[in-house]
């Protein structure tokens, strides 16, 4: 049986010591090991940012693409080769800023891919600008007077957009995060986890300690993930109005509806990557344009 260590790829790591990404990486490797997948069957599609570098540190296929475009790419990979386990990975700027529109539609579409967002409330790789999840008042070099916008709530958006698996984890809660990742990877649809993490270099507000003092598992509160309205109320709990407020973690909402992939008729004919052109079908298509002189 493969262990988490098996999923490691040797090589230098470009993250700052203490970065929340390490916790997320560790949970992912553990989840992949628990699912007993094989590396050649897994494909991570990531965007640009420090989070986007994750697939370089995992032993699997990967496509490290453009900022904000991991989701459409991942959906394309999965459609072409349904045999792959596909995971879209990126930061909060990537997934909620540049790629926000794509995320909304992914919830609707419900493709069979997992989506793990490294949410540290700041743009790290470009050295510290406010991101869509930065809280109102967050001071950065790009927003010296503090950002004037409230933070984006991806869970509320996911629930409103008919998402079928909407969850939140924390990089400092390896066990809980691993559990959620296993569920998301097994989910027959869009398995979305917003993963809170500190950025030790550029976010001095939402530190590891700050999160540790506030997070709690909704599973311990008899949360019913099938109740959409309760889920939305839970999703809105955040220490914005009340700085001492608590932050719920766990599976907020889970719905049963068919995935995009299982409804798409062409996929029933087999995996597109295996398909071979059929000259007869091509000829038939051409014939439809032939004009005959006599009836």
């Amino acid at each position: 049986m493969l262990t988490a260590e098996y999923w490691s790829r040797a090589g230098e790591n470009a993250w700052c010591p203490g970065c929340g990404n390490f916790g997320i990486l560790s949970a992912l490797k553990q989840a992949l090991a628990e699912l007993q997948l094989e590396p050649w069957r897994v494909c991570i599609v990531s965007g640009i940012g420090q989070a986007g570098k994750l697939p370089h540190y995992v032993k699997c296929n990967f496509l490290h693409g453009l900022h904000g475009r991991a989701l459409p790419t991942a959906i394309g990979v999965k459609l072409a080769n349904p045999g792959l386990k596909v995971i879209a990975v990126g930061g909060d700027g990537d997934m909620y800023g540049e790629g926000g529109g794509a995320l909304l539609h992914a919830f609707r579409r419900n493709p069979e891919i997992a989506c793990f967002v490294h949410n540290n409330g700041v743009y790290g790789l470009t050295k510290g600008q406010a991101s869509p999840t930065s809280a109102a008042g967050f001071r950065t070099r790009a927003t010296p007077e503090g950002t004037a916008l409230p933070g984006f709530n991806p869970l509320a958006a996911g629930i409103a957009m008919s998402g079928t698996f909407v969850a939140r984890g924390f990089a400092g809660d390896r066990e809980g995060l691993t559990r959620l990742m296993v569920l998301a990877l097994k989910h027959k649809g869009f398995g979305f986890i917003d993963i809170l993490q500190p950025c030790v270099t550029y976010n001095k507000v939402n530190t590891h300690k700050w999160y540790q003092e506030r997070v709690f598992d909704i599973g311990t509160r008899q949360h019913d993930p099938l109740d959409i309205e309760r889920a939305l109320e839970r999703a809105r709990e955040w220490p914005e109005a009340d700085p001492e407020g608590r932050i719920p973690l766990g599976l907020f909402y889970s719905a049963q509806r068919p995935s995009y992939d299982e409804q798409l008729p062409v996929l029933r004919q087999g995996a597109p990557v295996e398909a071979r052109p059929d000259p007869r079908k091509v000829e038939q298509a051409i014939e439809e344009f032939r004009q005959h002189g006599r009836d």
Partner: protein, 574 residues
Amino acid sequence: MAGIDFGLIVTGQAGQGLQVIAQALAGVFVRSGYHVFVSQDVMSRIRGGHNFTRVRIATKPVGADADRAQMLVALDAKLASLHLSELADDGLVLIDPDDGSRPETGHEIVAVPLRRLAREHGREVMTNSVALGAALALLQHDPEALRRPIQELFAGKGQAVADENLACARAGFDFVCAEGRTCRERIPRIAEDAGRLFLTGAQALGLGAIAAGVRLVAGYPMSPATPIFEFCARNAAEAGIAVELVEDEIAAINMALGAAFAGARAMTCTAGGGFCLMNEGLSLAGMTETPVVIMVGMRPGPATGLATRTAQADLLFCLSAGHGEFPRAVLAPADPEQAFHATIRAFRIAEEFQTPVIVLFDQFMADATRTIGNLQLPIANLQSAERQSLPEGAYRRYEASESGVSPFLRPGTKGQLVYVDSDEHNEEGHITESAEVRVRMVEKRARKAGGIAVMLEPPEVWPGPGRKTMVVGFGSTRGAVLEAVERLRGKGLDVGVLHICDIWPFPIDSVRAALEDSRRVITVENNWSGQVARLLRQEAGITAAGSVRRFDGRQFAVAEVAAGIERLAEGKTG
């Protein structure tokens, strides 16, 4: 006194604070009356890796790195070996002997216990300040000169921190003095206060925009343009501008256009990849005839490429970006001084001709800091192309005119209405599919190019004595090219320079006049395919004999340019 031309390299991992040493040293020598040039080499990461900064201190203006350094300061001794080939034979290497590593080299090593002194006089994180003091001592400069730069760099973190850093610097200085070590070269103060400006290209671009009266800046973080945005954000309150961090680049260009439509000068700044996303917006600016300035920072592509490095590979892309045909201007300043004035010119052209203007720069120009003379502030405020008097009847946004420019009116003007449409439109601004109106509109827009061309600054020409060889380039290669050519002329080579800033509409006549008598035309450019050479052929019918190219993501070294020109000038295949 013989001229001084001293090169220094500071290297370390990201996060070790080597920028501080470089900026502080630069500050000392700028205020001591020298010309200083600082370039940075930064990896696309936040910690670890290998970063370095080159500092050049000279008694004449310099616009490129020194070919050889006389001192190497290695905050991480392991990284020292990466720079030994660049160090002069009698250059010094400053390391911390407790670093656990010692470069194998014949160069003289100055061992200063940086970390120990930092711990003793402040905190270990202040290792860089110790190194700063040590370096200054080696140059036999007055230690009091450290006070002001350190104060400026650390005041934001509290006076206690600034004082500790100064103590650490002093400790490093005293240690070296006590050891009696010095550099072969001494760099004393030569002027009380030359009063030169010291800034980066990004800061100059921001200043230029503010000087031009920008009112709205919309952008999304992307190297190397982010510092421009942050500069505008920092000064937003004082300058009275709205600085909007938006959800994506497409929002940025469209928001700028909305603001401009409503009458506020607007700009956005991005890099090549972000500009790709803005292409439809650029096209929109052209069709709607809405003024906008787009600052595009070139870095190696394609796609994400080398995010923190430099290139000049998006020239042809910018000249033809945006679908459809419409006039534009593209200005490619070489350094902070040109950047400031070109930006003002850009806003002037954009507003007067109601057209998009691209200010094209690169990471090297954006991030290098240098001393410049004075910046000439605009004498008169930019004249808006706004109508001075209201029209008699209903206002027509796209009223035909000889110049192609229609008088501009702000929506919200009492009693008048403004119609702007991205579809083809008639003079009123309503949608049309008429072939005849279409032709008139295409020609109207195209006519503006003539007027734009008149607003451009001509290229700079330094003809060689006999016009044998002419070197052509644009943008940030100016410094290295001029220095290389000066060196070659010293060796008796007949070579001149044509350097272009205002590159579109292409100054065909000036270029032809400058090159017509030369036997050999060579381009120098930071790209693989020789885009300047292709442009010369495309626009002026001139075929370059060859190109000196560099496309590894780094800026040209002077020696490299000189060798390249020499090789091509003498007819050896390059």
